[in-house]
């Protein structure tokens, strides 16, 4: 067999980008370990923008809708991504979505002490979550990117908040 490997050295970067832009996020996160070039290629802003717009228009793998629901089996609030092929779980119990075991569960990596995050808004695949606070000091807005399993707490806003911040917060992107 002739040395096929040497051929692949010549695959131009724009073709590599084309291939990578077809991959799901999980594969991309893993393939950042392939080499430093791939790491910067996959992490760069232009690629992320390209991948995001391609993912939204991909008819073969339509994007997921994220639902917050209470899972009675584990007694916790969960977030479940549902595809447009099957937008609702097959069973509805007592007004809550129950979660069939074959659904991918996306857990928020940050656990709040009362574990009742609300989705206050979303933009470009990033969700703003709010905890339902017991006191005014509990307000904890959280930015969460479910695709990469990352979340960060935002600073608590200076402006006065009521005890129901999920009614006052929202998330939108303003391109500058």
């Amino acid at each position: 067999m002739p040395e096929k490997e040497t051929m692949s050295d010549h695959i131009p970067q724009e073709v590599i980008v084309k291939i990578l832009s077809q991959l799901p996020v999980k594969s991309l996160i893993r393939f950042r370990c392939v080499s430093r070039t791939w790491f910067s290629l996959i992490s760069c802003h232009d690629f992320i923008t390209l991948h995001h717009s391609r993912a939204l228009s991909n008819t073969r793998n339509p994007p997921y809708l994220l639902f917050r629901h209470y899972d009675q089996k584990i007694g916790k609030y969960c977030f479940t991504p549902l595809s447009s092929d099957n937008p609702f779980p097959p069973t509805l119990k007592e007004g809550y979505f129950t979660c069939p075991s074959d659904f991918i569960e996306t857990h928020c990596p940050h656990k709040s002490f009362i574990k009742r995050f609300f989705i206050a808004g979303s933009s470009n695949g990033v969700c703003l979550l709010n905890d339902s606070p017991v006191t005014e000091d509990d307000i904890a807005p959280l930015l969460w990117n479910p695709s990469i399993h990352k979340a960060i707490f935002l600073p608590i806003p200076e402006f006065p908040c009521s005890y129901m911040p999920m009614q006052y917060y929202g998330l939108a992107m303003i391109p500058l």
């Binding site: 096929k4 490997e5 040497t6 051929m7 692949s8 050295d9 010549h10 695959i11 131009p12 073709v15 590599i16 084309k18 291939i19 990578l20 077809q22 991959l23 799901p24 999980k26 594969s27 996160i29 893993r30 393939f31 950042r32 370990c33 392939v34 080499s35 430093r36 070039t37 791939w38 790491f39 990469i148 399993h149």
Partner: protein, 182 residues
């Protein structure tokens, strides 16, 4: 995309174009097929413009960066592509279904390593539909594979500093779960 090479009619006496590969093989293809290769089309148009004054016409086009093996496969793919398009001229949905069916069958006869060769040829020839298809095929071939498999597939080596890769693997351990065996 250009519409100039649409509606190929196999029964009509269409013009033939001769392509010569890097390993000196000669392929005679119908003009409609050759015109899907934008690089060939460009060459053909330029040459013909130059030749209008001299009254000659170009029929032999050299392809110094393409070998006969991938070219033969690309020609077969292109013919089928045009045929499916012509058969479903007024039904885009049907065309897509037929195309997907053909592409699934096509991939059964192609080794993953052959895809690299096909990608390089399709890229050089600037045959957009084929390039898109092969890129999708590579993506689905590597989607669930390990980092090591991908390095081997693309002939790449890790150039991380000691510890860098381990740190990434640790931080994103979830993305390494459920990976296929190499």
């Amino acid at each position: 995309m250009s519409n100039q090479s649409e509606s190929p009619n196999p029964t009509s006496s269409s013009n033939k174009i001769t392509l010569k590969t890097s390993d000196n093989e000669v392929f005679e293809v119908e003009e409609a097929v050759a015109m899907k290769f934008c690089t060939v089309k460009q060459y053909f148009d330029d040459e013909n413009n130059n030749n209008v004054t001299s009254g000659t016409s170009t029929t032999l086009i050299p392809l110094p960066n393409v070998e006969s093996h991938p070219l033969a496969i690309l020609i077969t793919y292109c013919k089928k592509h045009l045929e499916i398009k012509a058969n479903n001229a007024d039904n885009k949905k049907e065309m897509e279904i037929d195309m997907e069916h053909y592409e699934r069958e096509f991939l059964k006869n192609v080794m993953p390593q052959e895809l690299t060769e096909l990608i390089l040829a399709a890229n050089y020839l600037n045959f957009k539909e084929a390039l898109d298809f092969f890129c999708r095929a590579v993506a689905s071939a590597i989607q669930n594979k390990s980092v090591e498999y991908v390095r081997k597939f693309f002939g790449l080596e890790s150039d991380f500093k000691p510890g860098e890769e381990e740190k990434l693997r640790e931080e994103f351990a979830w993305s390494f779960e459920g990976v296929d065996e190499d």
